[in-house]
């Protein structure tokens, strides 16, 4: 008897979503779907606004990574005006972006995923959360809170608010740093570096207990997409698009941003408000249901595709990370995203250290002025969760005619679906739903740290109901957790 299991809402992710698992007549998992259940329509309601308002509007797509949207949007606006922004402004934008990586990755690792890693995948769901963590390990929790705060505080210094700061504008930024800010950052950096290294140690120490998870949590060949510096280094703010296949071969070495449409197209499915982007040259679905154009973005992809990080500590960890891939291939298992994420925090902290010591960052010229010079602008950057695309078309007065947003989480949509299918297949036995299974499937999603607010069209809280539905759609069993 075929059945469908519903997980609703998926929790400890940033947004609203549901999961359904379909079982065939033999009780084997035949498919698993990740549903994004909200729609906000940014692409449509932004039409008719003027482009300089876009950084402020689009950052409201997400409360966790507003900086990414603000900057991607500002970059798209820069392209519309056709100006090169002042050096100091670029450095400041990089600084705020690194600050965001610190706070966002810290949130993902400590607040959302660590409860599974440190308390166990099958521990009591009532305590398996950040509050449980605070109670179990207040010292670590305090460190985690302070790491996130460090990032948020830098954002507040520059933009007056830690969430949705009205700061980046077309042509540059609105405000610079003060001496005392640099002093504060300098003083706090070592502590945050220690916390990150501690986290890496905790994670790697726990690896022994997760060998099965490493094996089946999104461990499949796929393409990897992300930005790299012209030299091939790890890059978040600006750079060239690189596409690597599962064997480590570069399909695109460094594509100019404006050409992103050549490699990425989007599909839609009736069961999700989130679109399904795929690598265009390889196509969407083929006869046997495989999706050859499936690619992954985010920390795992970024760390896989870059040739080097460019800072000593991050490069040291990167070398260690590379050993996890089999036969010199890229690292496939999404479980290692946690590690990649921590490497990126390290990288960001090192970069922040570099940037504040650069005298050029204190230059007072922060903004270039210009009107509409191009009818189109593309802004691509690496958000914590992956590559983020903003593309605007404007009329000659600067009013938006068309807005296209392809957000990080969207890029991972196909991969997330495949990941939960893989997890469900290996942990599902018989027709009974265990709490542990639910959480494992959800953790599979959490690996991607999906920001569903970000998924533009989509946001959702993931309540979790597992439902067994027979092939005729009748409810057979239901498990509501909580």
């Amino acid at each position: 008897m075929a059945q469908t299991i519903h997980i609703e809402p998926v929790t400890r992710i940033e947004g609203h979503a549901k999961i359904t698992i379909e079982l065939d007549d033999a009780g084997k998992v035949s498919d698993a779907k990740f549903h994004v259940v909200e729609f906000r329509g940014f692409e449509k309601f932004c039409e008719g606004r003027t482009y300089p308002e876009m950084p402020g509007i689009t950052m409201r797509i997400c409360g966790i990574c507003p900086i990414s949207h603000m900057i991607a949007s500002a970059k798209a606006c820069d392209a519309i005006t056709g100006v090169r922004i002042p050096k100091a402004a670029e450095k400041l934008r990089r600084l705020i972006n690194h600050a965001q990586y610190v706070q966002s990755h810290a949130l993902s690792f400590f607040h959302l995923s660590a409860p599974d890693l440190l308390l166990g995948m099958e521990s009591d769901p009532a305590a398996r959360n950040v509050i449980g963590l605070i109670q179990a390990n207040p010292d670590l929790a305090r460190k985690a809170v302070r790491l996130r705060q460090f990032g948020q505080e830098i954002i507040r210094m520059l933009g007056t608010k830690s969430v949705h700061p009205p700061w980046a504008v077309p042509g540059g930024v609105r405000d610079g740093l003060k001496e005392e800010n640099i002093e504060w950052i300098r003083k706090r950096l070592p502590e945050e570096m220690d916390t990150t290294e501690l986290a890496i140690k905790l994670l790697l120490d726990s690896y022994g207990g997760f060998s099965r998870e490493i094996e089946v949590y999104g461990n499949f060949p796929s393409l990897f997409v992300g930005l790299v510096t012209p030299e091939g280094g790890l890059e978040f703010y600006d750079g060239l698009l690189r596409v690597m296949d599962a064997d480590g071969k570069l399909l695109e070495k460094g594509l100019a941003n404006e050409k992103w449409r050549d490699i990425i197209a989007e599909a839609v499915e009736p069961w999700s408000y989130l679109k399904f982007p795929y690598f265009k040259p390889f196509g969407y679905r083929i006869g046997n249901g495989d999706i050859p154009g499936l690619y992954r973005v985010g920390p795992l992809a970024r760390v896989n595709i870059c040739d080097f990080a460019g800072t000593p500590k991050a490069d040291r960890e990167l070398r260690n990370f590379r050993r996890l891939g089999k036969e010199g291939k890229p690292v496939w298992s999404s479980f290692h995203t946690h590690y990649a994420r921590l490497i990126e925090i390290l990288f960001s902290l090192e970069k922040i250290g570099e940037l504040i010591e650069d005298p050029a960052i204190m230059n007072g010229h922060l903004r270039s002025q210009a009107g509409v010079n191009n009818d189109m602008g593309v802004g691509i950057m690496e958000a914590p969760r992956g590559t983020l695309f903003h593309e605007y078309q404007v009329d000659e007065t600067g009013v938006l005619k068309k807005v296209n947003l392809l957000v990080a989480t969207g890029n991972n949509n196909l991969a997330m679906n495949k990941t939960i299918l893989q997890i469900a297949r290996s942990y599902m036995d018989g027709a009974s739903i265990t709490e542990g299974l639910c959480n494992r499937v959800e953790h599979g999603i959490r690996l991607y740290d999906p920001c569903l607010s970000c998924s533009t069209h989509a946001v959702g809280q993931m309540p979790m109901v597992l439902q067994l539905v027979d092939s005729k759609g009748n409810l057979v069993d239901q498990k509501v957790r909580g």
Partner: protein
């Protein structure tokens, strides 16, 4: 000019007899909220926020258009007035698409700060959500009717101070709207002198400097008094 004595909120106040109750109250240190009123423009009495109670008068009077009278007893802050003012601000917020968070005037807006001051922390009425297009055709200024409260300050400054009368109001009731020229694109309205006065007097983000980003627009209104004093009284305000 003869001077009259009146009582405002139990305080004895004297004022020149050609002053309005609003002016007298403000001179005496009482804050009466206003939106359509702006010193230097002819009073309009449209926003009704400056309503006050006057003893012996059954109706509430708009203080911006009511002249002081000897022996007048005025109250500017009663619970009734406060409630009405709150409701008026709620009605204004409901009739157009005021999204403070992504407005160019966020943090500097008169409507926003007035709402906060009056304790409007939510709007009890249905949002009407009209679909109004933004006009960015002008080389310097942008008009977003979604944020307009129809106070007509822009119309008055354009007519009375600049003398261009490029702006006016069209339609009626809830369908009123500010227009430029023959309801044409602002950039094509030849009577506009691009002086930008309308932008500066606008209390909200309905008129803003082109290219402003969210929360970036701030307005300066001193120019109005500078012009009027210079023009009418031959008194010039030299800044610094």
């Amino acid at each position: 000019m003869p001077v009259v004595t009146l009582t405002i909120n139990d305080k004895l106040v004297s004022a020149q007899s050609d002053k309005t109750v609003l002016e007298a109250a403000r001179d005496a240190g009482f804050e009466i909220p206003t939106l359509c009123h702006l010193e230097g423009l002819t009073p309009r009495g449209g926003c009704r926020l400056c309503l006050v109670e006057v003893e012996g008068v059954p109706r509430l009077l708009a203080s911006c258009v009511t002249q002081v009278q000897e022996g007048m007893v005025v109250r500017t802050e009663t619970e009734r007035l406060h409630n009405y003012r709150k409701m008026m601000v709620e009605l204004l917020l409901a009739e157009r698409n005021h999204v403070c968070a992504v407005c160019v005037m966020n943090g500097h807006c008169e409507l926003q700060s007035l709402a906060a001051k009056l304790g409007v922390d939510h709007v009890r009425y249905d949002y009407l959500c009209p679909d109004l297009p933004v006009d960015a055709s002008h080389e310097r200024n942008t008009r977003d009717p979604n944020r307009c409260i129809l106070c007509a300050r822009c119309i008055r400054v354009c007519d009375e101070v600049e003398g261009a009368h490029c702006l006016d109001m069209m339609g009626r009731g809830i369908h009123c709207n500010i227009i430029t020229g023959m309801n044409q694109e602002w950039g094509k309205a030849r009577s506009c002198t691009a002086c930008g006065k309308c932008v500066q007097v606008c209390p909200t983000g309905a008129l803003f400097k082109k290219g402003s980003s969210v929360a970036e627009m701030e307005k300066q209104r001193e120019f109005l008094i500078w012009i009027l004093d210079g023009r009418d009284k031959k008194v010039w305000h030299w800044s610094r």
